[in-house]
């Protein structure tokens, strides 16, 4: 009661009445970027004789996950909930989600989910969400801007220095914000993953998890390491020392849409983004997409280069993805399970996977003709061979928020030393000194 009361109050004040109570037999909360997956799933469920669905469509962007966390902790969340995969373990550990092993075992399509993808959404050996797809990350670049700056196409940077040099050339050609490297809190998890982690993975040798946020062998968070310092140094070069971009690009009123527009207009030269960009640059799920040839004429992508330090990886990648989970309170609601299955039905999920340029985590969809025939999917599939996942254990969402605070500090003009110290202190506050390690 103690906690619930405060959380209910917090939810009520923070969301200012936006929380819609579940009036129908089954409710679903989802992120608007996934409309083209969820809406037809709901329609199929209703057409098959299901209950009326109370669909709560929320805007995408950095406020989605805090909103869901509040709803869950206040006990007002929907029956079926879309959840970013990084926070599934945390929610499961809080007792907010229902395990789905029985659902998978009793469903003829359960066997198609790839094991690695289910590991990401597992906690204490149980599966707590169904993954829609996964993704890979890369540097997108505007070809017009690159041509104007006299840079070679296709662009193939080998080190961080190459990226900075390209940025300087873009600056000279009038592209003031040469490189959008996500920083600060307005991108939410985007800063941690598209920006910080992609840089971090190439900052040092992968041996002993020296290029990660967590030492997975000992289960300790890394509070200070050469890789973290080099990554912050790179942020400092981009925004403070070489100033190839202005910090303000991370604080526009509508980060995702404003950035897409600025990038397509050539006002941003390089955009640290992911495989979804092939679709989402023109509006995720937007039916009026340009053809692939038109897209290829305008933008291209290259793999994120490593730092160039001895032993560091030549290219880096990290994968995430969104999932759909079942509220623990709806564990015994058969309608919620039916809705979940309707959304993940091979036909519905398969269509969305191809149209949204998502990397499937199901063997049946991977083997489908439509998926195999898509040229963009074929071009990004090789990246899957050398990717990794986030440290999706409970606590990662806290660490991620603190990582965002580190980048905020750099944009604020603080030194790498100060920023790392603040990060380390906050980690110790959170997890205790025994669970935080410094790598020399």
């Amino acid at each position: 009661m103690f906690k619930r009361n405060l959380l209910a109050v917090a939810a009520a004040t923070f969301m200012a009445g936006a929380a819609v109570p579940a009036l129908a037999e089954v409710s679903i909360a989802y992120q608007g970027d996934f409309e083209s997956l969820i809406a037809p799933g709901i329609a199929a469920y209703e057409a098959a004789g299901g209950e009326k669905v109370n669909a709560i469509k929320l805007p995408g962007g950095d406020n989605y996950s805090p909103r869901i966390a509040l709803d869950l902790s206040a006990g007002t969340a929907a029956d079926v909930i879309m959840v970013d995969s990084y926070i599934v373990a945390q929610f499961a550990g809080s007792g907010y989600l229902a395990p789905l092993d029985d659902v998978l075992a009793s469903w003829d399509q359960g066997k198609y989910f790839m094991k690695g993808a289910l590991d990401v959404v597992s906690y204490n050996g149980k599966v707590y969400a169904l993954p829609t797809a996964t993704d890979v990350r890369m540097l997108w670049y505007n070809k017009d801007a690159f041509a104007k700056a006299g840079l070679p196409l296709p662009w193939q940077p080998k080190t961080w220095a190459d990226v900075i040099d390209a940025g300087k050339a873009l600056n000279k050609a009038g592209v003031k914000d040469a490189f959008l490297l996500e920083a600060g809190t307005k991108w939410g998890e985007g800063t941690t993953m598209q920006g910080f982690y992609m840089t971090l993975l190439g900052a040092d040798t992968p041996d002993g998890d020296r290029n990660r946020l967590r030492d997975r062998a000992s289960g300790k968070w890394i509070g200070d390491s050469p890789a973290i310092r080099r990554t912050l140094q790179f942020y400092q070069d981009v925004y403070v020392n070489d100033k190839i971009s202005s910090p303000a690009i991370n604080y526009v009123a509508d980060p995702f849409n404003d950035t897409n527009n600025a990038f397509l207009a050539g006002k941003i030269g390089i955009y640290a983004s992911g495989s979804w960009a092939n679709n989402c640059l023109w509006g995720c799920g937007n039916a009026k997409q340009p053809t692939q040839a038109e897209k290829d004429k305008l933008v291209g992508w290259t793999q994120w280069p490593g730092s160039g330090q001895p032993g560091a990886k030549a290219t880096t990648d990290i994968s995430g993805g969104w999932t759909v989970a079942l509220n623990a309170k709806a564990a015994n609601n058969p309608e919620a399970v039916k809705l979940l299955k309707a959304i993940f039905n091979a036909d519905n999920l398969g269509k969305w996977t191809v149209s949204s340029a998502s990397l499937t985590v199901r063997t049946d969809i991977a083997d489908s003709a439509a998926y195999k025939a898509d040229p963009y999917m074929s071009s990004i599939t090789p990246l899957v061979a050398d990717t990794t996942g986030r440290d999706t254990v409970p606590g990662y969402d806290k660490v991620s928020a603190l990582v965002q605070d580190m980048t905020t500090g750099i944009l604020d003009g603080k030194s790498v030393d100060d920023v790392v110290k603040a990060y380390n202190d906050a980690l110790v506050d959170e997890f205790g000194a025994d669970n935080v390690v410094t790598l020399k």
Binding site: K3, L6, F14, A69, F91, S94, T185, K186, D405, G413
Partner: protein, 296 residues
């Protein structure tokens, strides 16, 4: 002391008690909610994860961290600058100045001015934020309509002048309130007194300083009290416009509180920030209320 109540009030005791119910509900709700925040500020409760279930009492740790961890002191400074310049100086002086300038003016100009400042007040914060974002961005209205035609380099105002931009935006947004309050107050100052002062040789400035200001003193203090309270905890416009950035340059206390409570998920620490804010605003309000008392 006079403990007698009027016979009319005594007869109406029943209805009076009923009429007090809404006030009682409001007061109880406030105490209840603030009480939870106080309690939680002494715990390490979190939004999700292990500490959302197994929280513990941590004494004054959260309050100590207000001063030993970065964030709070910076935000306190930013909030103070924001409140001083946008509310106490900006809205109050602009509102008073406009009220004085337009007093007795029945022209179309007055209508135009009133409609424009009222629009700012009535516009939802989020809409206003997008408007100001579009006005001050590198490709925004000011650059395209003013600086570019003059042959000047475009300026990204949010990048270089983030705090001034949100201050100006808030002055624009809130001046209407001060203007309305002062207009009403000035209407209560009779024309004869001002005429008399002028006959005695007072300049217009002296007339305002020595006659008008003392007469509207209570309104002035009430206005300062209200705009200070509103501005000190103001959230939506700044959050939508800059999200607290670039860096932490516009990270006012309310944004820090939301960030720590709901993005980092430390409800205990966020509650401590909220309580600190409440204490500061409470002290400011007390100071203002003392000013409301008539000088002896």
């Amino acid at each position: 002391m006079n403990n007698q109540i009027g016979p009319w009030l005594a007869a109406a005791r029943g209805p009076m008690l009923v009429a007090m119910l809404p006030a009682a509900v409001c007061i109880l709700a406030t105490l209840y909610l603030a009480g939870w925040a106080v309690v939680f500020s002494f715990t390490n409760l979190e939004l999700t994860g292990a500490r959302s279930i197994n929280w513990a009492w941590v004494g004054f740790d959260n309050y100590v961290r207000l001063f030993t961890r970065e964030g709070f002191l910076n935000s306190l400074w930013v909030t103070s600058v924001f409140t001083l310049f946008s509310a106490i100086i900006g809205q109050t002086i602009f509102g008073f100045g406009l009220a004085v300038a337009l007093r007795g003016n029945r022209s179309v100009l007055r209508n135009i001015v009133e409609v424009s400042i009222m629009l700012g007040w009535l516009l939802p914060d989020i809409v206003a934020a997008f408007m100001w974002s579009n006005t001050t961005s590198a490709t925004g209205l000011i650059n395209n309509a003013v600086l570019a035609p003059l042959g000047l380099q475009p300026i990204n105002f949010i990048d270089q002048y983030a705090l001034p931009v949100v201050i100006v935006a808030n002055i624009w947004k809130g001046t209407a309130w001060s203007y309305l309050l002062f207009s009403a107050a000035l209407d209560s100052v009779s024309r004869e007194i001002i005429e008399a002062a002028r006959m005695d040789g007072a300049t217009p400035f002296q007339g305002i300083r020595m006659i008008v200001l003392p007469m509207v003193r209570a309104h002035l203090v009430t206005n300062l009290l209200l705009v200070t309270i509103w501005t000190f905890g103001y959230f939506a416009l700044i959050f939508a416009l800059t999200g607290g950035g670039p860096g932490r340059r516009t990270e006012v206390l309310s944004i820090l509180m939301v960030h720590q409570s709901f993005e980092v998920g430390k409800l205990g620490y966020g509650s401590a920030i909220a309580i600190a804010m409440m204490l500061i605003v409470g002290l400011l309000a007390l100071a203002y209320l003392r000013q409301l008392k008539e000088p002896k």
